[in-house]
Subunit: 248 residues, 2 copies
Amino acid sequence: MTEVKTDINSKHLHSKTLKGLQSEVQSINRVALSVDCVIFGFDENKLKVLLIRSDLKKYQKKFSLLGDLVKPEEDLEASAYRILKQRTGMNDLYLEQVHTFGEVSRHPAGRVVSVAYCSLINVQHHRLKTLDNDLHWHDVDSIKELLFDHKKIFDACYKWLQKRVQEHPLGFSLLPNKFSLRELQNLYEAILNKKLDRRNFRKKFFSMNFLVDTGEHEQNVPHRPGRLYKFDYEKYEKNKKTWSGIDF
Amino acid sequence: MTEVKTDINSKHLHSKTLKGLQSEVQSINRVALSVDCVIFGFDENKLKVLLIRSDLKKYQKKFSLLGDLVKPEEDLEASAYRILKQRTGMNDLYLEQVHTFGEVSRHPAGRVVSVAYCSLINVQHHRLKTLDNDLHWHDVDSIKELLFDHKKIFDACYKWLQKRVQEHPLGFSLLPNKFSLRELQNLYEAILNKKLDRRNFRKKFFSMNFLVDTGEHEQNVPHRPGRLYKFDYEKYEKNKKTWSGIDF
DNA sequence: GCAAAAGTGTTGGAAATACACCCATGT
DNA sequence: ACATGGGTGTATTTCCAACACTTTTGC
């Protein structure tokens, strides 16, 4: 049995007068808050991540994630969408919050707490002016070192993606609207970084019943063209199972 | 193909001079950052959450999560541990970050972005002076309304717990060191809010091979006493499977 | 001896895995 | 014709779900 020692002098955030709270909120008790986006793409059968070369002289050799400070009057998520829009010109990206990184010393310019968002982008719909603004796609397995703690943030998002893609159909956001099953399998193999059995993979996805056969086929492939499918989100929502099981 | 429009005037967080960045980080571009903890306990076969009655006059009828502002020189996670320590007197709690809530209007005192942490506590090891400081355990299914957006935060953490407890052995943090399988099952039933088959439940946990029979039995129960087990984290680490499967 | 929960096995169905052959197309 | 990947089926195994009776203890 542990003795409970409540620090009498410490007042609780929600246990003060509103006025007192306001002054605290407006006081020095504040930090800079940023959003960093890990933007994944899929191209040439490789999983890619979008990085920018830092302009900071001191760090000029390093690449960094796309981020910016959250504006005082801006919802957190809006901030993430703004960054995506600025960098990709697209509004309708898949975006999800992953984790917040708040070590005191993570940023050399002072206390900056960063909320990491993961985004998935269809590189076909989006041709970056990569040369214009020092944006580049990098193979995920080539990422060795990034600015500040961005490698840690990237790692967290990559792990998150690997897990999430197995329990929720995110992957389609990385593919063209119409895709062959081979492309879909290549995508999963690239994300999970392992080979999958083709027949079992097909069985699995067909049994989930949200792939719609467009009737079209691949073009200009040096082999038998595969059928092209679309992902039907409505069908997914209807059929999705409420998973439950203990699985350590 | 979407046209990429990069806002030329918007500079990237990591694409400025260090000096410029520093002034921005120290400027008005800052927000108050808080941590709110959702502390779960398990008692009398019910899943409980620890809440405090708000002292704010205006909100006096409402309960709230335990939270506080993050101090400028304090790591984010340290902040969460500090709150737990203050409220429970305990250091060795299970604690994990869940989500960050950053809507502009979520807090009436101004812009406060809150990072939600979920914590699991063994109520046997910790007898709160509940009357002293307006702390109370509440049945999770009795939570209707909380201060500000705390209900939303609570819901997110509860869902997180339901999911997480099925893929990682967190549950043991809520139980005494020695527990019967009945207690363990009651815990899972309380968290998942559904009945489980006793024989399959036992089979499942025994097959995972991290329960150690202490040789002891329950005391003072009005029926045949059950065996008491301990959770062996080492064994878990050794035997845990690297789960992989596509499961939508 | 009765109430209450502990403890234990088997079976059928579903899902995952492993595996090999023919087909359609471009060159 | 051949190289390349598309497309398909089956047998095996593993995992999950459903289900009922005997045992031990306190009262």
